[in-house]
Amino acid sequence: MSSDLPPPYTALERHPMMPVTSHDEAARFNFLTHMNRYISGTLGKGNKLAYEGRVLPAFKAVHGRDPEHREEVRVAMNEDPFHRMWSALKRNTMEMRQQNGRQCVLRQLDELDAMARQFNEHSGLLQLDASVEQPIYNTCVDIHCQPGGYHGGEREGDVTVGANYDVGLFATTGGALGRLNDGGGQAVVAHIKQVMPDFAPKRILDIGSTVGHNAVPIAQGFPEAEVTAIDTAAASLRYGAARAAGLGVKNIRFVQCSGEDLSRYPDNHFDWVQTTMFLHELSSDSMPRILAEAHRVLRPGGLILHVEQPQYGPDMPLLEQMLRDWDAYNNNEPFWSAMHGLDLKGEMEAAGFARKDQFVVGVRAVADPEIFPPSPDGGQEDYGRAAIWNAYGAIKAPVEETVA
């Protein structure tokens, strides 16, 4: 019975930059963790029952056909009383997670800002560039309903958004990302070491790193490499660099830079270019530019890997597509739907990676399963949040093949 219980919040490792939660702040995260599991698990199947039992029959009665696109399913489901209530509950858990995280962070912001400044002044891990503009896809809405998104803050130079992201991720993912919320990056490291045992990268670029949850474990897993973790959002980088320094990681640099313009790096510079849960935060205009820049800076024979939630594809039922799209419309993820509907192999091909050089593998979070049970799957999966991903990768062809 207890084996699938999420761990208590206090199982998280309190690295030096981690905001200190009071007893009740941790308890509120525990409530939200359980409530999220309840909403996706016990109540989640209600969406399918409502769809099959009344939404779909009503749609057919009106239109004389089945829905042809997830958008039609979404519009129809948004009329259903059960789905509306379910969505309202889920939206509230996200908002409550933000408020609880912010209350924890903001009451101790003076200490957190001071500590981050200390770490960042002495570690040399942080390189900010005030000339980097915040792209519209970062600023149009506050992503994840986090006030300030990844880039804002409560005052100049603060770490509010990075700290809040770190302190509450546990509740959103039900603890499935492990004690440092880094199960995604650890999964990538474990997979690459398994399938490419001789791969010894010297220079690794992680694009869209935010606070470095997924870049730091790569640096730890490849201590001979130098990891460059870039993001446009200084507010996240400030926290991420301080967090990494607090963890004692030295072979990583947090650099303010846009993936759309990697001109500071020469062609063929990196052995490995990585993104983790990043592509869905972009836009139709910017994603091809970033993919092309990633191709340019990757050396021939080098590895590119994009970790994402699964793409939809024609074989995925429309209701599942629509449920996976929930965050796009209800949790401020405006590119999520379009991105997951793309033929990612085609996008990567357009960026220069031949289809024969591409691969797709399933990846699950690596965490201590004794303490952090894996994400529920099957009918219990929390679509869009589960620590179950696909990695869309490629090996850049050697030069002679590219020319041929």
């Binding site: 019975m1 207890s2 219980l5 999420p6 761990p7 208590p8 206090t10 199982a11 009071s22 007893h23 009740d24 308890a27 509120r28 525990n30 409530f31 359980h34 409530m35 599991r37 309840y38 016990t42 109540l43 199947k45 209600g46 029952l49 409502a50 039992g53 059960f82 509306r84 209530m85 969505s87 309202a88 509950l89 939206r91 509230n92 858990t93 908002e95 409550m96 408020q99 609880n100 912010r102 209350q103 903001l106 009451r107 101790q108 912001l109 003076d110 149009c140 809405v141 506050d142 994840h144 309903c145 986090q146 006030p147 998104g149 409560e154 005052r155 419309y329 209800n330 401020n332 303490i371």
Partner: protein
């Protein structure tokens, strides 16, 4: 405490981006938020009471600092997790039963009243 920021009010700041309306009457959206927040607060209070009980049982005395830094061991964590799961199940009973009713629909009970009353 942080200087120069009204951290209590700023904690509840809204996120940029229009909020979806889930119900016809916005009051229902507000009441849902209210009910969820109260459910969370009672859950946190129950967890705090459990902490107090465990500290008293173990040591016969307690300090507020000991409550704030308490971290359950493996077994206590599971017991508290199960307790929270059961608490949520009680609070959410109506929703569970709504799902069950969709899975195994029943005719209105008035149908049975009519049928059993008929001579």
């Amino acid at each position: 405490m942080t200087e120069g920021i009204d951290w209590v009010t700023r904690s509840g700041a809204r996120a940029k981006g229009g909020r979806p309306l889930f119900f016809e009457d916005p009051a229902v959206d507000r009441l849902t938020s209210l009910a969820m927040a109260l459910a969370a607060e009672l859950s946190a209070t129950r967890e705090r009471l459990d902490t107090v009980e465990r500290l008293l049982e173990a040591g016969g005395t307690l300090s507020r600092e000991a409550i704030e830094v308490y971290a359950p061991d493996r077994q206590a964590g599971e017991e508290r997790g199960l307790s929270t799961r059961a608490y949520i199940s009680r609070v959410m009973r109506g929703f569970q039963q709504e799902v069950e009713a969709m899975e195994y629909p029943d005719p209105p009970v008035t149908d049975w009243v009519d049928r059993l009353s008929r001579r």
